[in-house]
Symmetry: C2
Subunit: 106 residues, 2 copies
């Protein structure tokens, strides 16, 4: 689903990744992290898709809420496992969303 | 492939979409637009994946280069067809990338 974010400005974290073949605990942890993130203060929504690469964009009220989620202890454990096991490569980009526009075909 | 972007700040356009069943000319146009965008001044790279939703993030030097690409005549035609035929819903977000960090498992 396309995230229903408020009027800009708000923040986006673009996480682009390439997976390893090691699937152990990956899906379970990914779902757990989605749930945890959504309960984290300042969370506004997220969008995710994976083909050759995976792109997950999460939306946040401010930089503080992004820092706070990054520092979450369970998330820290997942980040460590991500480097050790699940990802061969990733890039995280922290952005301010300045403008947005939508289209919906009724 | 993860886009090799320069040091921030630069700009990102996050295009999140939900497709219709109408596939006519879609793939051909999508590939043509990728090629055209990459030749547009200020283009820095892009990343794309589709499952339930599609996410395409393109990266740009500045707002001028984004406006310029949006106004490209062939792109205008594709945007019109997108609304008429290919997408049931989409959202475009214009962002400034303020910070990024990478991981690569050697």
């Amino acid at each position: 689903m396309i995230a229903k974010t408020p009027a800009p400005p708000y923040f986006a974290v673009i996480f682009t990744s390439i997976r390893n073949n090691d699937d152990e605990d990956y899906l379970e942890t990914a779902l757990q992290m989605e749930k945890l993130a959504s309960q984290s203060p300042g969370y506004l929504g997220h969008e995710s898709a994976r083909e050759e690469i995976g792109i997950t964009v999460s939306y946040w009220e401010n930089l503080e809420s992004i820092k706070n989620w990054k520092a979450n202890l369970k998330h820290q454990v997942a980040q460590k496992l991500g480097k050790e096991k699940w990802y061969s490569q990733y890039k995280t980009r922290i952005c301010i969303v300045e403008r947005d526009y939508s289209f919906e075909n009724m």
